[in-house]
């Protein structure tokens, strides 16, 4: 295995973008120092290493910072290219497809489900849910397109797009507990629902995805979840 040098990850337990990076590091079997950040009171290390956005995740490798979760995942894949598995596929067209859908996840899927979480009334939540469903349907299409009938977006084993989508499962499962909403529903998007179950049960899913209760507790703490709403 390539000598890894000094590796630190600045993160927040409940952040899907941080989870994504931790999954990439786990896939490569790379060990690192994880430093939980208090985003309401940002520390010097975070401010110095991500002055532009002041956000997590930030990977610091031998003192050099890398920011933006998808850039970090690709960085990890490239630095530890000699270590199996490859996170991105080798073929340029498949790489382009993986990047296209990962961008779709961040540009469309993430804001859509976040809208459900932040809804202030049950009515607004229903509206946000109905806006999210077509996006989920697109992900079902993506899965069919990318997986070629295999278990994961990336084929027989977990890869880039599985990480891009899968890191959101923490909050999707939390919202099911909090509101009873089922964003990835076996009745509507059966292939994606089956993938979600497989992903949760995969090594990287089991080892890295926190329990949904952790997200529920966090939501209560920051008062996103209003139990008084219907």
């Amino acid at each position: 295995m390539a000598g890894q040098g000094d590796l630190k990850l600045l993160g927040m337990l409940e952040s899907p973008f941080v989870i994504r990076v931790r999954m990439a590091l786990h896939l490569k079997g790379v060990s690192y120092e994880y430093i939980e950040q208090d985003l309401s009171n940002k520390g010097e290390l975070l401010l110095k290493n991500n002055p532009v956005h002041k956000k997590v995740p930030v990977l610091i490798h031998n003192g050099k910072p890398i920011c933006e979760s998808l850039a970090i995942v690709q960085y990890v894949d490239e630095v530890w290219a000699a270590t199996s598995p490859s996170i991105l596929p080798a073929n340029p067209h498949e790489r382009a497809l993986a990047r296209f859908w990962a961008a779709y996840v961040d540009d469309k899927f993430f804001p859509a489900w976040l809208g459900i979480l932040k809804a202030e009334t049950g009515e607004e939540r229903d509206k946000k849910m109905s806006e999210t469903l077509p996006v989920v349907e697109q992900l079902e299409t993506a899965l069919a397109q990318c997986s070629n009938g295999k278990a994961f977006f990336s084929g027989a084993s977990v890869g880039y797009l599985d990480l891009a989508v899968g890191c959101n499962l923490l909050w999707l499962d939390a919202m099911r507990k909090m509101f009873g909403v089922v964003v990835i529903d076996a009745a509507r998007t059966p292939v994606l629902a089956a993938w979600a179950d497989r992903f949760r049960e995969s090594d990287v899913g089991k080892e890295v995805l926190p329990d949904a209760d952790i997200a529920v507790e966090y939501a209560k703490k920051i008062q996103v979840y209003r139990p008084a709403s219907k």
């Binding site: 933006e68 850039a71 497809l97 961008a103 299409t141």
Partner: protein, 237 residues
């Protein structure tokens, strides 16, 4: 140039995202068939090649579609790795930094500039303008850091971020001309101002950039349409 590579670009000449792809193809020395789409009447080929977004640009390489401008640019760099200069460094950290700044251009600069044009109120628009100038200030620092004293974000030669930001230049220059306010201010952002001049002079840029007067005319027409639509909506109340 690799033999047997059929490259077709579905685009629209004013689109900065299409210009990005043209820049990448030109800088790599790749020839392609340019297909001009009527975005008010999208072709079957566009809709079937990009069913998710139905947007330009779409690059068809031997019939296989690739969508999203920066995904296409990286595809071009990887699929034609042996042809022309590399748009990304081979060093993983430099690649990550380039990807970071390319994402920044889209998330901060494009977003704020769109708001400055399409903001619903004058207040929205001026907030967009303010944020756009703040983003440009940040990009000035990025250029200083990435160029390492050379001329481009990619260093000695153009790279991912030069293509990402370069795609926007025609719109930004046309806006400068129309408003009379410098966007790449040589006092506030000297490196960016010099970079913009330098990029415009490249052969690849001359091939990709729309004509400035044509751009101004296009934007004026768009603004007139938007104003007419707003007036019609107001009078319907």
């Amino acid at each position: 140039m690799a033999g047997g590579d059929d490259l077709k670009l579905l685009g629209a000449w004013p689109s900065p995202f299409v210009v990005r792809v043209k820049l990448a193809l030109s800088f790599k020395g790749l020839s392609f068939e340019n297909v001009e789409e009527d975005l008010g009447n999208k072709s079957e080929l566009l809709v079937s090649s990009n069913p998710v977004q139905k947007k330009v640009p779409v690059l068809l390489h031997n019939g296989k579609p690739i969508c999203e401008s920066m995904v296409i640019v990286q595809y071009i760099d990887e699929a034609f790795a042996g042809t022309g200069p590399s748009l990304l460094s081979s060093d993983p950290h430099e690649r990550a930094v380039a990807r970071f700044w390319a994402a920044y251009v889209d998330d901060k600069l494009v977003t704020s500039w769109v708001q400055s044009f399409r903001g619903k109120t004058e207040e929205d628009k001026s907030e967009g303008t303010k944020q756009m100038f703040a983003a440009l200030q940040t990009l000035e620092g990025a250029l200083r850091e990435c160029s390492k004293g050379e001329g481009y974000f990619g260093g000695e030669s153009v790279g991912l971020v030069d293509v990402s930001l370069g795609g926007l230049l025609s719109w930004l220059n046309a806006t400068e001309e129309m408003s009379g306010t410098k966007i790449f201010d040589p006092v506030k952002t000297p490196l960016l101002a010099a970079w913009a001049e330098r990029l415009r002079e490249l052969d690849g840029a001359k091939l990709a950039f729309p004509d400035k007067d044509r751009m101004v005319e296009f934007i004026q027409k768009r603004q007139a349409q938007a104003a007419a639509a707003a007036a019609a909506a107001a009078s319907e109340k």
